[in-house]
Amino acid sequence: MTARSLFIPITLLLVIAFLIGPFLIIVAASFSAGETLAFPPQGFSLRWIAKVFTVESFRASFGMSLFLAIGGTAAALVLGIPASYALSRYKLPGAEIVRTVVSAPIIVPGIIVGLALLRYIVVPFQVGITLALFLAHTALVLPYAVRVVSASLDNLRSDIEEAAVLLGSSRLGAFFRVVMPNIRGGIMSAFILGFVTSFNQVPVSLFLSGPGVRTLPVDMIAYMEIVFDPSVAALSSLLAFLSIGIVFIAERFLGFSRYV
């Protein structure tokens, strides 16, 4: 083989190594029997995986993250589905501006969003930590909800709504009877994408978390600052497998990648 023909396979291997390598290291480290987070792992045990479930703050912050991911995504869909419908079905003045504004949280760095929310919303209006996190996560997920739902609405003919109306349905009824069932896959995909985005969100949550109220990733960072044992690695592995599992199931049953 010439150097030329080796270039591509080697590049590919390196890319894969950099993408998957850290993940494999973390997974390996979580089975370590040693006292500190280290690679290669010292021996094999399940003690750190078991420990994850005994840390009180992990349980509380996991609950909070779950609440934000489910609640925030649901709220984003409640706002995002009608917004997507309006954007896709009506020629609205300024529709492009609305699209851009709605997409802003994807483009603007989380640090800035977090700081802005803290400085101009949370502090002046004395918003509670949980509410602030909920609002922030809703806003962060909204762009994904609008984008994914819009994509499936754009693929759906609009004349079926008129057909439903002429068969006796109201306009709103037509939406629920013939639009919603046909964009169900898109909505589910938006939900999963939103859930994963919210669950893995760090910078915004970092700014808005406060005493006793933290999301899981923020709690993990805080934990690592004090304790440097492999339990964080164990927790990371568990979360990674959870995410992979969700996306795998979604792909299998919804054809998730069609929408995203």
Binding site: V165, L166, L167, G168
Partner: protein
């Protein structure tokens, strides 16, 4: 309500924003009639249909149906059916559920619903396809589902948007027969929109030719085909030699030319005259022409002549002696055969 105005449009004006699509349209349709709205795209035919369905708000004027003013009645309470050009079947529902959709909304349940849906499917020959999804059907089958879905609702008026345009030649004939049968059996008033004159001539009891949001001519297929009253309609139905009249003479780029022969009675007030290519006589007559083009069309042969009138299209039986390109010919535009046009635009 008289019998002649089961569905009537009175001074109907429709607009998209500020641009008027249909202006002051008056039209009376009898119960059980099969009407074609015929015209080129942008003539307002689809707009008119959507207004009858209630999908487009009426700017001014009235729509009356079966004695009631339905101008402001919402689309879902009009008892007007519409078969969409794209069929607009509900992709997530089976054929059976598509047909039963409207009946269920009416509150129909159980055996009554089942009987109605099944007889609807049977009437379009799709009993065996009840459990299929629309995507698993051919275009022709999808259209029949759409027809059944509208017809089980027993609409007072069935609107059809370009009902034959998506079908191939064989299916067109099948669907045309199907629509006529449904119309005959149920007596439903049908209005269909088309840009295809052949489709309108073959199917309709009466044809409404539209242009730029106005009615150009209303008449039986024979009227429209043989006696167009305006240059627009004449052109649309295949009169290819059309000239304006001035002081009883034909006005051409080469000046006024005397008519050949006499106009039929009542025609002298005409604003123009029109001849189909078949009405042009070759080989005899007072006019001079040169063959510019010729094409064989099976039973006949078409010629394009250069003349003082400008280009003239003629069509003669294929068995007649042929003329070559560049041949000088005499020809005739017999005045008594011409369709007199009362409007020239």
């Amino acid at each position: 309500m008289s019998d002649a105005s089961y569905l009537s449009l009175e001074k109907l004006t429709l607009a998209y924003g500020d641009s008027v699509a249909v202006a002051n349209l008056d039209l009376n349709i009898r119960k059980g009639e099969l009407i074609a709205l015929l015209g080129p795209s942008g003539c307002g035919k689809t707009t008119t249909m959507r207004a009858i369905a209630g999908l487009l708000p009426v700017k001014s004027g009235h729509v009356r149906l079966d004695g009631a003013d339905i101008t402001r009645v919402p689309a879902n309470k009009r008892a007007v059916g519409l078969m969409f050009q794209s069929y607009a079947l509900f992709p997530h529902l089976s054929v059976y559920e598509n047909v039963g959709f409207g009946l269920k909304l009416k509150g129909m349940r159980g055996t009554e619903l089942d009987t109605k849906v099944k007889s609807g499917l049977k009437s379009v020959g799709l009993s065996d396809f009840a459990n299929r999804k629309p995507a698993e059907l051919s275009g022709g089958q999808q259209q029949r589902v759409a027809l059944a879905r509208s017809m089980v609702m027993e609409p007072k008026v069935l609107l059809l948007d370009e009902p034959l345009s998506n079908l191939d030649a064989r299916l067109r004939l099948e669907m045309r027969t199907e629509l006529q049968r449904v119309q005959k059996e149920t007596g439903v008033t049908m209005i269909f929109v088309t840009h295809d004159q052949a489709e309108a001539l073959a199917l309709a009891d009466r044809i409404v030719v539209m242009k730029s949001g106005k009615i150009e001519q209303i008449g039986s297929p024979e009227d429209i085909y043989n006696r167009p009253t305006s240059s627009f309609v004449a052109d649309f139905v295949g009169f290819e030699n059309i000239f304006p009249l001035e002081n009883g003479k034909m006005k051409t780029s080469a000046g006024l030319i005397d008519l050949s022969g006499h106009l039929s009675s009542g025609a002298p007030s005409a604003a123009g005259l029109a001849w189909r290519p078949r009405m042009v006589t070759l080989g005899t007559g007072p006019f001079q022409g040169t063959v510019r083009g010729t094409s064989f069309a099976g039973d006949s042969r078409e010629y394009l002549l250069d003349s003082a009138f400008g280009p003239i299209k003629a069509e003669v039986e294929a068995s007649r002696p042929t003329h070559a390109l560049g041949d000088a010919l005499v020809f005739d535009l017999p005045a008594e055969k011409a369709a007199p046009l009362s409007r020239f635009v």
